[in-house]
Amino acid sequence: MSNSKRITLQQTSEIIKDGSSLTFSGFTIWRRPMAIVYELIRQHRKHLHLIEVNGGSHTEFLVGAGCVDIWESCWVGHELYGKYGANLSRKVAEKKIIVEDYSHAEMLFRFVAAASGAPYAVTQTSLGTDIHNPEFDMLGRAGLRDGKRIAQHKYQFVDDPFYGAGAHVLVPAAKVDIAVLCVQQVGEEGTVRLNGQCYSDPEVARAADITIVMAEEIVPEEYLRRNADQNAIASFEVDYILECPFGAHPTGMFGRYDVDGSFLKDFYGATRTQEGFDEFAKEWIHGLDHVSYLEKLGWPKMLKLRANTAMNYCPREKKGGN
């Protein structure tokens, strides 16, 4: 009823502390909370533990800036605009980061388990792969499996006792401190409406102990409550909200704007060296705030990216026209 969930972009980096474990909304290069990611880099957050269903450009920003100690996920890259995560790749080779690999479905099921209060999920995916190689339990090798926030085991193998369906793997629930979401609409009390594919947003919001929702628009709560069956996350699952238009740029947002492919290509190119990344961060992150970032991007760029509201994306034939 009150607006007490509202915070500023600056306050997000007070809630997200050094050493926090974090997860995010979106999918690879879509609906990533970039404005908050930039703010964390500006505030020099350290020792973050990212636990993600999948990574993307936001991961590469945080990893490149040295904010991340542990990355637990299955994939990082920029899709069409950058074949792999060059920052992560470099830091792995330099042993400056611990990478714990699961498969995509395993990561997803880990979040589903956490979101429904179960200690683990049971699945038959990825049997026989090196993902299950006991030598490659990197958190175990680092002595970090305390059974508190990080599970005592990376996996357990069991046989199905009910239907004789054979070998299964148990994957531990993904326990995470903070979920940071970037969405189309949030109500004043925290109700979230997502449009298009919801990815794994409802699950990660519920799995995390604290959920921050950055939205293109904060809308009247009663507007969303007129069609409760179209909402994706309930009010009480959200702790903090903020409005930040174009907060996902350079990643895209269904119904609002497309991925900024040329920006990501440039970024990917820059990340081939640490110096390249630092240069890029100096130009686009440090010393800027969100509005000056948008001004630097400029109107022509944003007009070119904006989605046609009937199609929910920017049709390609239109692109040359602006």
């Binding site: 899709e79 080779a93 690999d101 995509h104 699945t123 990825s126 049997l127 004789g164 070998a167 919801c198």
Partner: protein, 271 residues
């Protein structure tokens, strides 16, 4: 009846795309990764498999995008789909056994069809960390058959991949890591495995019994011996059926005028 294109009318990507499309049958449920697999499936939808049901990992069930998505998370996935939701739905549908076929890519493949997309070199001391698994092992674990599209280089067709990201026909049984037939490990989830590797040189299949790769067809301009030379393992070329079918002019029209006019995934050949 088919109006096959002449060699100067198509490129290698066209050939791969069409070869991949031919792997799909009508009415099948198909799970597609980003890139060329997407174009291939949409090509099948436009030709012999109009009732094919397309799943995108990010949460689209029975998709029919009018404009090709740049990735499975793309806003373009939703338009015309039966249902847009999320990963839990996509992977649940897959694990439940709805998926007939998965379409994937890979960096390295071995004689058993094990695919690596995680790292080049020793996992603990990697020469190069790649993207990681993504949904590759998941789609491949759950589908009845899987088709991979890959660049063919000798360093990529190896006896044993340095890291099994995605399970082939003979996989590692943990904790020991000895190679066993996939059937032994997957129990009720055993529904098949990799059915074809479409490389830039030829089409490869697997003997389901012993799990070994063999050459099925050679792309135009290559011979079985040349392809065997480009594998680090002893490729079985005794079962070669002939040449990979080349694209028809209609397929090329669909690829370049309808599906990917902006050459996002498939370049046009210069005439």
């Amino acid at each position: 009846m088919s109006d096959f294109a002449s060699p100067e009318e198509y490129g290698l990507a066209d050939l791969l795309c069409c070869a991949a499309a031919h792997e799909v049958q009508n009415n099948e449920v198909v799970f597609a990764g980003t890139g060329l697999p997407m174009v291939a499936i949409m090509l099948a939808q436009q030709t012999h498999a109009p009732n094919l049901k397309l799943i995108f990992e990010a949460g689209t069930l029975d998709g029919r995008p009018p404009e090709i998505p740049t990735s499975v998370g793309d806003a373009r996935c939703e338009m015309g789909a039966s249902r847009a939701s999320g990963l839990f739905d996509a992977f649940s549908v897959a694990q439940r056994g709805y998926v007939d076929m998965g379409f994937l890519g890979g960096a390295e493949v071995d004689q058993y069809g094990n695919v690596n997309t995680t790292c080049i070199g020793d996992y603990l001391e990697p020469e190069l960390r790649l993207t990681g698994s993504g949904g590759n092992p998941d789609i491949n674990s759950f589908a009845k058959r899987t088709v991979f599209i890959m660049v063919h280089e000798k360093r990529r067709f190896v006896e044993n991949v340095s890291y099994i990201t995605s399970p082939g026909w003979r996989v590692k049984k943990w904790p020991g890591g000895e190679l066993v037939h996939r059937r032994e490990l997957y129990g009720a989830a055993y529904r098949g495995g990799p059915s074809a590797i479409i490389s830039t040189l030829g089409v490869f299949r697997f003997d389901e019994q012993d799990g070994h790769m063999y050459l099925d067809t050679c792309h135009p301009g290559t011979t079985a011996e040349q392809i065997k030379e480009q594998c680090q393992f002893d490729l079985d070329i005794s079962r070669v059926k002939g040449q990979t079918q080349v694209p028809t002019r209609e397929e090329l029209r669909l690829i370049h005028d309808v599906l990917d006019p902006d050459q996002i995934f498939i370049p046009k050949v210069k005439k």
